[in-house]
C-alpha cells in the first residue's frame, strides 16, 4: 500500500522532534480526521529557513509527508518555501494512496501555518518597536 520511501521516512524520520529556538510554529489538522501536524522553523534575518522540524500525530503517510516537507523548505527563503506544494511532497515520496493525498496537503498547510505564525510575530514586534519609538 505504501511506497518504500514512505515506509523509510515513517520509520526513520530525519526531521522529527521539537526545536529549541524556533521562531515560527504552525499547527494544522484535527483529531477527528486523525492527523495533527506541528511545524517548527528557524528563520534568519535574511528570511531564509535555516532549520525545520516537525511533530505529527497521524498515520505513516502523515509522518512521512511532514518529514519530506521539512526537507523541501530547509535552506529556502520564505517566498520559495511558500511555493512548495503537496505535489512536491508526493513526488518525493514516490506515491501516496489516493485516500492519503490529504496528508500531503496538510503538510503543505503546516508550512504555511508556520510562516503565517512567523509574520504575525514579526508584526507584533514591529508594533511594539513603533510604540517604544
Amino acid at each position: 500500500m505504501y511506497s518504500k520511501t514512505v515506509l523509510e521516512r515513517f520509520q526513520n524520520p530525519k526531521n522529527a522532534g521539537s526545536m529549541h529556538g524556533a521562531n515560527a510554529v504552525g499547527q494544522v489538522g484535527n483529531a477527528a480526521c486523525g492527523d495533527i501536524m506541528k511545524m517548527y522553523l528557524k528563520i534568519n534575518d535574511n528570511g531564509v529557513i535555516e532549520n525545520a522540524k516537525f511533530k505529527t500525530f497521524g498515520c505513516c503517510a502523515a509522518i512521512a509527508s511532514t518529514d519530506i516537507a521539512c526537507d523541501l523548505i530547509k535552506g529556502k527563503t520564505i517566498d520559495e518555501a511558500l511555493k512548495v506544494t503537496n505535489k512536491d511532497v508526493v513526488s518525493l515520496l514516490g506515491e501516496l494512496p489516493a485516500h492519503k493525498i490529504h496528508c500531503s496537503i496538510l503538510a503543505e498547510e503546516s508550512i504555511r501555518a508556520a510562516i503565517e505564525n512567523y509574520y504575525k510575530k514579526k508584526e507584533k514586534e514591529l508594533k511594539k518597536a513603533n510604540k517604544q519609538n
Partner: protein
C-alpha cells in the same frame, strides 16, 4: 524479523486441519452438483445434510431445515435484515438495530431506508451495551424486526440477547442477531435465547472463507434476496451450493461450539496476562468495551497521543499483526463508528488497536508483543504533538 505473531483472529483465522480434512474430498471426489438427481448429486446432498445437522446441534435449533447456507456472514446479515423486512412489509415498515452493528447490517438498513423503510439506530452506553429502555421506547406499531449483534466485533461487548429477544416477542417482533463473533466465544442456544434468526460465518472459527449460514426459526417468514434455481436451499437461497465450504463450515461450527468453554477459559487467561503486562510496561492507555460482559477473544485498547495506523505499521514491521478499529486504513477518515457511539473522544478513538487472540497465542508471544508495543509507543509519542498525559 522472522518472528510472526498473529493477533487478528477476529478478522479471520487459519483453517484447522480437521476442517480441511472434512473439505478436501469435496473438491475432487464428492464433486457432484447437489441439485443433480444422480448418485454424484446425492453424495453432495449428503454432505450438505451432515453440515446442516452439525450446525443444528451446535446452536440447538429445533430442525436442520432451519439452517440455510450463504456465502458468508455478510450475506447472512444482508438477507436476514432485508429478507425479513420484506416478508413482513404488509405488517409495517419499521425496523430497529443499533449504532454499533457490523456494516453488513447497517448498510442493509440503509438500503431499506432508500426503499422507504424507517430504521431506528439505538444508541449504546460507554461500555457498548444497547440501552434497553431506549429499545422499549423505539418499538411501535409497524415495527417488524429488531437486529442486534451478540458480540461486537471491535470491542467485544456482549449484548443482553435473551432480554432483547424476550422484549421483541412481547411486541410480536422478529429478532435477528449477528453472531459472527459470538460462535465459539459464547454459548449460543437459539431455543433458550429465543432467537428467530442468527448469522454465522465460517472463517472466524477456523473454517473456510466465503461460507456462512443463516438460522431462521421455522414459522418466521423471510423473502429470498437471491434469484435463480428454485430448488436450492428450499427455494430461499439460489446458487449452486458451495459443498466443500459448507462441509468445512459444519465441522468448524461443531468444533467451535464443542470447545467453547475451554477456548473461552484459555483466551481469558491470555487476555488477562496481556492486560497485566501492558499495565506494567506502558503508560496512558484505556481499554474500550465492557469490563466483564465481553468476549475473551477481543481486546480494544486506545493508546493516548498516538494514531492507530502508525502503531499498527510499526508492529507489523516487528512481525505482529493487529488491526486498527479506526477506519483510517479504509477510505473513510472518520474514527470507528463503534467507538464514536460509545462516546470515546476522537483523538482517543484514533489511537485504538484491536488485539484478537487465538487458541495458540502463548505467554511468550504476549511478552514479545507488549515489549514491541512499548518501543513503538515511545517512538511515536516522541514525535507526537499530542501529549498523552493530558487526557
Amino acid at each position: 524479523m522472522d518472528r510472526k505473531i498473529y493477533l487478528d483472529n477476529a478478522s479471520t483465522t487459519y483453517v484447522s486441519n480437521e476442517v480441511l480434512n472434512e473439505m478436501l474430498p469435496c473438491f475432487n471426489t464428492i464433486y457432484g452438483n447437489a441439485g443433480s438427481l444422480h448418485s454424484f448429486g446425492r453424495s453432495s446432498v449428503a454432505v450438505l445434510d451432515k453440515a446442516r445437522d452439525r450446525i443444528k446441534e451446535a446452536i440447538n435449533a429445533k430442525k436442520s431445515s432451519e439452517i440455510y447456507f450463504t456465502s458468508g456472514g455478510t450475506e447472512a446479515d444482508n438477507w436476514a435484515v432485508i429478507g425479513i423486512a420484506h416478508a413482513y412489509a404488509n405488517k409495517g415498515k419499521h425496523i430497529i438495530t443499533s449504532q454499533i452493528e457490523h456494516h453488513a447490517v447497517l448498510n442493509a438498513c440503509h438500503y431499506l431506508e432508500k426503499e422507504g423503510y424507517q430504521v431506528t439506530y439505538l444508541p449504546v452506553d460507554e461500555t457498548g451495551l444497547v440501552n434497553i429502555t431506549e429499545l422499549l421506547h423505539a418499538i411501535k406499531k409497524g415495527t417488524t424486526l429488531i437486529s442486534i449483534m451478540a458480540v461486537n466485533n471491535e470491542v467485544g461487548t456482549i449484548q443482553n440477547i435473551k432480554t432483547i429477544a424476550k422484549i421483541a416477542h412481547d411486541y410480536d417482533v422478529v429478532f435477528h442477531s449477528d453472531a459472527v463473533q459470538a460462535i465459539g466465544n459464547l454459548n449460543i442456544n437459539v431455543q433458550d435465547m429465543e432467537i428467530d434468526a442468527l448469522s454465522i460465518s465460517g472463517h472466524k472459527i477456523h473454517g473456510p472463507k466465503g461460507v456462512g449460514a443463516l438460522y431462521v426459526k421455522s414459522g418466521v417468514k423471510i423473502d429470498p434476496i437471491t434469484f435463480g434455481g428454485d430448488s436450492q436451499e428450499r427455494g430461499k437461497r439460489a446458487g449452486t451450493e458451495n459443498v466443500a465450504g459448507i462441509a468445512g463450515l459444519g465441522k468448524a461450527v461443531e468444533t467451535a461450539c464443542r470447545n467453547q468453554a475451554l477456548t473461552s477459559r484459555k483466551l481469558k487467561s491470555t487476555r488477562d496476562y496481556f492486560v497485566e503486562k501492558l499495565s506494567e510496561k506502558v503508560e496512558y492507555f484505556q481499554i474500550n468495551g465492557h469490563k466483564h460482559q465481553k468476549s475473551n477473544a477481543i481486546l480494544n485498547v486506545s493508546f493516548y497521543g498516538v494514531e492507530g495506523e502508525s502503531l499498527l505499521m510499526l508492529l507489523d514491521l516487528a512481525g505482529i499483526c493487529v488491526s486498527t478499529s479506526s477506519a483510517c486504513t479504509s477510505k473513510s477518515l472518520l474514527p470507528s463508528h463503534v467507538l464514536k457511539a460509545m462516546k470515546v473522544p476522537d483523538e482517543i478513538a484514533q489511537g485504538s488497536i484491536r488485539f484478537s487472540f487465538g487458541i495458540n497465542t502463548s505467554k511468550s508471544d504476549i511478552d514479545y508483543v507488549v515489549e514491541e508495543i512499548r518501543k513503538a509507543i515511545n517512538k511515536l509519542r516522541a514525535i507526537s504533538p499530542v501529549q498523552p498525559g493530558r487526557f
